[in-house]
Every structure is written in C-alpha cells, then in structure tokens.
C-alpha cells in the first residue's frame, strides 16, 4: 500500500543542523527496504537537496519554520520508497522548478538536477492553502535481491 497513512512522519524545523538526522532516517529506512548502500546514500542526497531548497528558497533561510517528511514503502515490483516533503513556504510556479544546464559550471543551482537524476519519480505540487508538496519515488532495481517487506522479521513481541 502506498497511499493512506504514512509509515513514518517527522516534523522538523527548517534548520540545516537537522539535515543530517533527516538523511540518516531516510537512509536507514531505504536500507531496510532493500536498497544497496550507494542507493541509500543517493536517496538521502535527494532528500537533503529537497530540504535545502525548502530552507533556502521557500523559507529564505528562516530556521524556525515547519517541514514535514513522510515515508511509505512502495510494494509494487521489488518494492521501493515513497517520500513526501511538505512545507508552508511560499508557493512557486511549477514551471519554474527546473535544473540548470550543467555545461554552465558555476556554484549553486544543482539541487533540482540531482533530485531528478537520483529519483525515479519527482512531482512538485502546491498544497491547498499554503506551501508546497514534493513527492519522490525510488524503486528497488529488478536486479536486487529478494524483496524486503517492512515487517518485524523475528516477531514483533521479541
């Protein structure tokens, strides 16, 4: 099931010091869902870049605004991870969210490119009322080992 109640939701402040915690959470969950070490690192990178964009562009670097990070397992195929990042930041024109040309080497502007490169699905939306919602999906490659389901492997009472 990929809709309905998230399996994990974290509300965090828009303070960059908490980025490492968000990365560790996402990476740990991705690992449990069957992604290899490199994929876990890159999924965490995509989430980090998305959170940075919210902090930098959405909240103009204010460190006390809310961001919600929600995770669901994807059950189709070999499985995967669906991540939703929501905020109350200013709403932006969806057509304006695009990565820049990489031939133009200069500092900054790489976040959206990295997110699109790493994730299988990337969808930006305006939330009703205020803020933005970013949905990211990464599927476990079909060449990976057996599917891992988010169930307690040794029984949940021990």
């Amino acid at each position: 099931m990929t809709d309905g109640r998230p399996h994990i939701t974290v509300e965090m402040l828009s303070n960059p010091v908490y980025l490492s915690g968000a990365r560790q959470l996402v990476s740990s969950v991705a690992q449990r869902l069957g992604f290899d070490e490199m994929a876990c690192s890159q999924i965490a990178l995509a989430v980090d870049e998305a959170l940075c964009n919210v902090i930098r562009h959405g909240y103009d670097r204010a460190v006390d605004r809310p961001i919600w990070l929600s995770l669901w397992p994807v059950e189709e195929g070999k499985g995967g991870l669906r991540i939703v990042i929501e905020d109350e930041a200013k709403q932006v024109d969806l057509d304006a969210i695009k990565g820049r040309k990489l031939e133009d080497v200069r500092p900054g502007g790489l976040g959206v490119h990295i997110i699109r490169e790493v994730m299988d699905e990337v969808k930006y939306e305006r939330r009703e009322g205020a803020g933005m919602r970013l949905t990211l999906v990464k599927r476990v490659p079909m060449t990976a080992g057996p599917k891992v389901t988010p169930k307690c492997e040794r029984g949940c009472d021990g």
Binding site: V17, L19, Q42, G108, I114
Partner: protein, 115 residues
C-alpha cells in the same frame, strides 16, 4: 541555541602546498566552514591547494558549490586545486553533477602533491 558546524578541518603545509582535510559531512550547515577554510588558504596564495576528502562520508550540492567557487578562484590565481581520496559515495555526487571532469581528482595526497 549554539550551533556546531560538525566539520573539523585539518590544515597542513608542505613546500608551498596547503592541504586541507575536512572531517565530517559537508552539507548546507557545514559547507560555510569549508568555504571559510578554503578562502583563508587561498588568501595565502599557495601554488597548490589540496583538499583531502578521505574523512568526508557525505557531500551535497552546497559542498560542490564551495569547491566550484574555490576552483574558479584557483584558476584566477593561476594556482592548482586538487581533490583527493574521495569515497565512492562522494565521487558519485560529482558524477551526478557532471563535475568529475571539471576537477583534478587523485587517489592519494601524494599524487595530489604532484598531479
């Protein structure tokens, strides 16, 4: 609340070459510390600046931006900027951003001193 950058940066000089060794994750909260360390190093006008990434497990686009900025300064100074000892995970980020050809990247500090 006091905020820690989470990034220690070692500095060593060998025959006119400055070697910086950041230790920790280079993300949005920590890249300003790396930027400042590089700026100070480049202010000394070394003929070569080496950034040893052996102690960096993770880097995001703010770290990449810091290094791109440093490379532009180095080129302006007609000096060399060399990155070395990248883990596979950090190198992958350079490749995703297509920046692995923009930098001189070596496997070891010793290679970076001459590469």
């Amino acid at each position: 609340m006091a905020e820690r950058t989470g990034l220690a940066i070692g500095r060593e000089e060998r025959d006119g070459v400055i070697i910086l060794t950041p230790e920790g994750d280079v993300d949005m909260s920590c890249s300003p510390a790396l930027r400042e360390a590089i700026r100070r190093a480049q202010d000394a006008r070394p003929k070569r600046l080496v950034v040893d990434l052996s102690q960096v497990d993770y880097m995001d686009s703010s770290g990449l931006a810091t290094l791109v900025e440093a490379m532009k300064v180095a080129r302006g100074q007609k000096a060399a900027l060399v990155l070395c000892n990248m883990s596979a995970k950090v190198r992958a980020i350079f490749e995703i951003a297509r920046l692995h050809h923009y930098f001189t990247i070596t496997g070891t500090v010793e290679d970076a001193l001459v590469g």
